[in-house]
Amino acid sequence: MTGVAHHTMTDGAPSDEAAATVRPSPSFGLEKMWRVQGSEGRLHRREILRHHLIGAWSHLRESPAFTATTTVIMGVVLSLCISGIVLIYNAHILLEYARSSVGLTIFLRDDAAFESREQLERYLRADARIGSVRFESKEEALEKLRLETPAVSSLLQGLETRNPLPSSYAVTVVKEYSSPAIYQELRRRLQQFSDVELVQYNNSLLGELSETLQLIGWLGGGAAFAKSFVAAGIVALTILISVDRRRHEIVVMRLVGAPERFIRGPFVVEGVAKGLLAGGLGIAGAALGFSVLHHILASALPFVPVWDRIAFLPTALLAAVLVVVGTVGGIASFGAVRRAIGPMDA
């Protein structure tokens, strides 16, 4: 390394004189600086995490309109998705309720003989499928009607002597046997007793709804599942766009030897954040829609005895939803960025 001539301020034309006069190199102090500092730093986990967070934040902030639009779109998709889950959840609740509350009411003829009533009662107690059995006399039936419908109670004055209401047995079916087929079979059997006037489902609305409820549950679940893919697709798409805008930055990161996780980290965090943000929006949207719909239906159909039973999702389920959308956001962006970053180009 001898004869290094520096011509910082002179013309590049060579001359033997210039080559011969070895001028002292204008030292910048590099060697001294490196000696003092050493070349390798320690790898701080905290520092890397900070990088991911700051990177993600700057991605989100860089174009607020883009972030807002995509997040809102995802929020809408997710709110539909969450509505589906609400549907399944409530279908499940109602189904359980229907199973436990549906029963049969056996109306007796007024002239039913005591023996035949006993025979019927024996049968009811013997059948393993039948749970509780409760007898209701003509008087009790009238009293109940009076209490339940105060508007007509005046009309019922004086009916005590010629009470037109029949006496009845209200029976419930053990939960394990609670299916429409069993109801039908039981109904057919009971109808054959001579003093039985009529066998009816009580709470028949729910009883008949149970299959519909099941269907609604499946459809809601399927739709939610499909929409979650749409949401993941949107996350992936926004990450692709985000990566595309940062191509130059990624090239520079590659140049200076950034590890892969350092390059991808901010995008994955961005995806998780977007997932959570959209998930929060989705939950809020679904909750709003739920309460509005609940209110409207409950006041339009007050006699349907379900409004106090259905509910929005419990907190644990909401937390689970957030965890899932966050994870899906992260995974979708990890996949997207993996594809998008491409060759180790510089």
Partner: protein, 248 residues
Amino acid sequence: MIRFHRAHKTYPPHQIALRGVSTVIDKGEFVFVAGASGAGKSTLLRLGYGAERATQGEVVVAGRTINQLDREGVASLRREVGIIFQDYKLLASRSVLENVAFPLEVRGIGREERSERALLILKTVGLGDKAHVPPMTLSGGEQQRVAVARALVHQPRIIFADEPTGNLDRDMANLVFDLLVEANLAGVTVVVATHSLSIIDKLNKRTLVLDRGQIIGDYLDPRRGVTRESRASSGMGEPQEVGTTAAV
């Protein structure tokens, strides 16, 4: 430190850039790669820092066989080298200081330490007072010095510079080369691709001359036209007939 052994590079589909390049660059050398446009200078450097893989043959840099490296391997190699381009490749969204500190950031070095080190090297390249402005507000020469500072901040073992002064006037170019020479004096191996015969002539360092993908000359003393072969065959200092200028 760097070894090319019969390295071929064909860009898809069949653009041949290098045909059987073999050479060795030792630790601490300062080497120019010269040649006409399209001769393969950039490709040679890109093979060196792992941006391309040789289609045939072998390239070994800092103890690593480039063809066998995965992404993390390439990243790890690049943490030991510094790369400088004609177009600087600075990040517009970051300040000059943050740009220079970037190689330290990817190592997970804490904010304070990296700012301190970046500021020191910025002062070294004469830009201590521009640390907090965006790079786009600087002149070309200043931007290239920022890029040089970034390439030097982590004390690389090797510097690859591809046409580093292509956009600069002579004074700025000289300043950049002074920095590269000093880094070299401090032990860094330097490989510079350039068209500029005047700079080669001035610094008079070992020069590989490429033509259509082949090394056609390996000058140890380009000013006198001394090639490796001529020195080997006839002892030190025997001038060769063909000068650098003629060869290129």
